[in-house]
Amino acid sequence: MIVADKKPLSELFENVEGCKRILVAGCKSCVAICLVGGEKEVGLLAESLRLFSDLNSKGWEVSEYTVERQCEKEWVREMHQSVQDIDAVVSIACGVGAQTMQELYPDKRILPGLNTSNMGAPDEQGIFLEKCGGCGDCILHLTGGICPIVRCAKSLLNGPCGGSQNGKCEIDPETPCAWEQIYDSLKRLGRLDLMEKIIPPKNWIPSRSGGPRKIVRPEAVLTPEEKETKEGIN
């Protein structure tokens, strides 16, 4: 899932300055799971905006809407009516959701309400850990199911650096050393031989270094005729 964190309210108050009618737009997917962008959080943020407005005589009119998935146009279109008379949308979906909003409503100011952080997972209630760097060329089969690209502070591919001690990373005594975890995992799996093999320099083209990425599933792409038919149905 995509993990995000709240932007400070002070930053949001500043960003909506000059707008009258504000829509807080949430998403019921990842950001709801990480407790920053679901229906409940939309309500809380809208209340905060109203309170700030009342206390400071801003005269803001704040409305709320939460869609199933803000990253998909089909769901975002649902909001069509609610967005019409709005000056600004504070999107508390991830950065993907906010951009989908901007694409569908190009004349509206879409303001990010979250800081999107990473692809991670809940570790325990209220704690979310980064797991995947989306490098585009997965090597988990070589590293005992633990990703060194994001879980090692230096993205090392050939074992722990000299700063790994007592299972912790040199940058922070709270952070586990990913390569110690990889070592332990490969040991459990009886595959320590993999620790001895040199992993060659990584091809970063499938990663961010190759520019914005595009994945095409040809079997799912519609022909112009099919697109027309689909629009007719909708």
């Binding site: 502070a153 230096k154 993205s155 090392l156 591919l157 050939n158 074992g159 722990p160 650096c161 000299g162 700063g163 790994s164 001690q165 007592n166 299972g167 040199e170 940058i171 050393c177 110690e180 070592y183 332990d184 620790m195 001895e196 040199i198 992993i199 060659p200 320099p201 990584k202 970063w204």
Partner: protein, 288 residues
């Protein structure tokens, strides 16, 4: 016998010149650090050239933190062209330790891959991606290993990995825990690594009790046993005791089978290196 010359937080070449002149008779080569602990200093490339001008043989350190494969390969060619003959490949201290905490790090490749890449450039006159070099770099390739980091059982395997990647010599993290170092050396000998690579053991002379405690508690991947701390605590003259401990460590290290040399890291205490080398009876140095 190698030692370290830390480039200054300054554009003044005289600081490097002074250290080079001071140390050149007392070591065979000198590590020129590459923005150590991620603090901005004069570059290792420029400092290495200043050392050359002063007749001190530099070992240019090159971390993977700040340069991608394009810059690393390019700088290696440049360094070779200007007479640098030794390079030390290392991943580098993470930027959060230094004075540029908000920097974006590079880590395009890691230190093992860096060794492999440099070896290919030197031996096969090829760069990554197979383009040919008209003339390859002339470089003696160095690696680092830390017998005191974890997991301990992997530390010798990692050395083996660096040897097969191309390391001609290996410098270790500072040895204080002699027992652990001996275990590591013994495992290295079992794999025949001492015959494939020149293992140079690191030492750090302690300037004070505070320095000893700092290294024990704050430097990642460092083990300083209590008996060393005790000696520093009891000493009436901590500086002399620090030198004494260092000389004893060197004498001990030289008796360990497979140890090929000693690397003195006298951080901000470079002027003491000649004294240490002389007291350890390692002076004069043989001609190159």
């Amino acid at each position: 016998m190698t030692a370290e010359i830390g480039p200054p937080k300054s554009a003044n070449p005289e600081i490097v010149r002074r250290y080079a002149r001071l140390l050149r008779e007392h070591g065979d080569a000198f590590n020129v650090t590459d923005n150590q602990t991620a603090i901005v200093r004069m570059s290792s490339f420029a400092s290495a050239l200043i050392c050359l001008q002063e007749g001190a043989e530099p070992i240019m350190q090159m971390t993977c933190r700040d340069r991608n494969r394009i810059a690393l390969q390019s700088d290696l060619l440049g360094a070779s062209a200007l007479g640098v003959r030794n390079v030390l490949c290392l991943s580098g201290d993470h930027q959060t330790f230094g004075n540029q905490r908000e920097a974006k790090n590079v880590y395009d490749i890691d230190s093992t891959q860096e060794l492999q890449m440099f070896k290919m450039m030197r031996d096969e006159r090829r760069i990554l991606g197979d383009d040919e070099l008209e003339e390859g770099p002339k470089m003696f390739l160095g690696a680092v290993e830390n017998p005191f980091a974890d997991p301990f059982e992997f530390r010798v395997a990692r050395l083996a990995k660096k040897v097969s990647a191309g390391a001609d010599f290996v410098q270790t993290q500072a040895v204080f825990d002699m027992e652990r170092f001996e275990r590591w050396m013994s495992a290295a000998r079992d794999r025949g690594l001492d015959r494939k690579v020149h293992i140079i053991a690191g030492v750090v002379p302690l300037k004070s009790l505070g320095a000893a405690n700092y290294m024990k508690k704050k430097v990642p991947g460092m083990i300083v046993p209590d008996h060393i701390i005790e000696r520093m605590r009891k000493a009436t003259d901590a500086k002399s005791e620090g030198i004494r401990i260092c000389v004893e460590q060197i004498e001990h290290l030289m008796t360990i089978k497979g140890v090929h040399g000693v690397h003195i890291m006298a951080v901000n205490w470079e002027e003491k290196v000649p004294e240490i080398v002389e007291k350890a009876n390692l002076h004069p140095r043989p001609p190159p």
